[in-house]
């Protein structure tokens, strides 16, 4: 089972990953004769307190996506009242140094403002972790993600 092990930064367990339009959207773009956007490299924070993956709007702009869903979210600042957020469909790639990678061809991802207030491009939530083994070794200050 390929795995990556990295140091835990001050901001937490972060790793580089890539996003692109979802596989079905790529096929639709090709069928429409559109140019495919380049893969976007982002920095994601593994967050077991996040139900699902979410991404900063700025990272989505380059992918030229349209929302295909809307979900209700509850966060500490929503005061007990759910707020609706747009959801997009992306392809997520978590690379491994040996060339393997975890590829999720169609992943719903929630749009948010993360970069400016928190310096994060994306949260890797439990929807992604459900496909991995995540080990957080605080004593050694490392984390591992196996997939």
């Amino acid at each position: 089972m390929p795995h990556i092990t990295q140091s835990i930064t001050q901001a937490g367990p972060q790793l580089d990953l890539f996003v692109s339009p979802s596989e079905p959207r790529i096929k639709a773009l090709l069928a429409a004769g559109k140019q495919l956007p380049a893969l976007v490299k982002i920095r994601g924070l593994v967050d077991t307190g996040a139900s699902g993956a979410c991404i900063d709007l700025g990272c989505l702009v380059a992918l030229d996506l349209s929302p295909t869903g809307r979900v209700a979210i509850l966060t500490p600042s929503t005061g007990g009242q759910a707020h609706n957020c747009n959801q997009y469909d992306i392809q997520l790639l978590i690379p491994h140094p040996n060339g393997n990678y975890l590829r999720i061809p169609s992943l719903p991802i929630i749009e948010s403002n993360l970069k400016a207030p928190q310096g994060i491009d994306a949260l890797i939530g439990r929807d992604v972790l459900s496909r991995c083994l995540f080990v957080y070794d605080g004593g050694a200050n490392i984390f591992s993600l196996a997939f």
Binding site: S51, G52, T68, R70, L74, P76, A82, H83, N84
Partner: protein, 93 residues
Amino acid sequence: MEGPIFGDSLTCGPSMALEKELKTYQEQPPKLLQNEGRYILIHEDTVAGVYDTYPDALKAGYEKYGLKSFLVKEIEAIEQIQYFTRDLAPCPT
């Protein structure tokens, strides 16, 4: 039971995308709940189908509608909320 059962119980921000599709979803009759846990595909006021998985519904959406707007939504009797312990700003768009 008559009439739609999917009330809009959630706070909505300003005008957002997929308004037509979400309205269509909310107007669906209760029998749709027989498909709870599956995914509905809606384009404007047309229900294009119900699918077992999110990838299946998404694939069908792009095959049927290309780059036009469409909604893929899990069918739920009670709208599930996604929780975040980290604070997130409200949807920017």
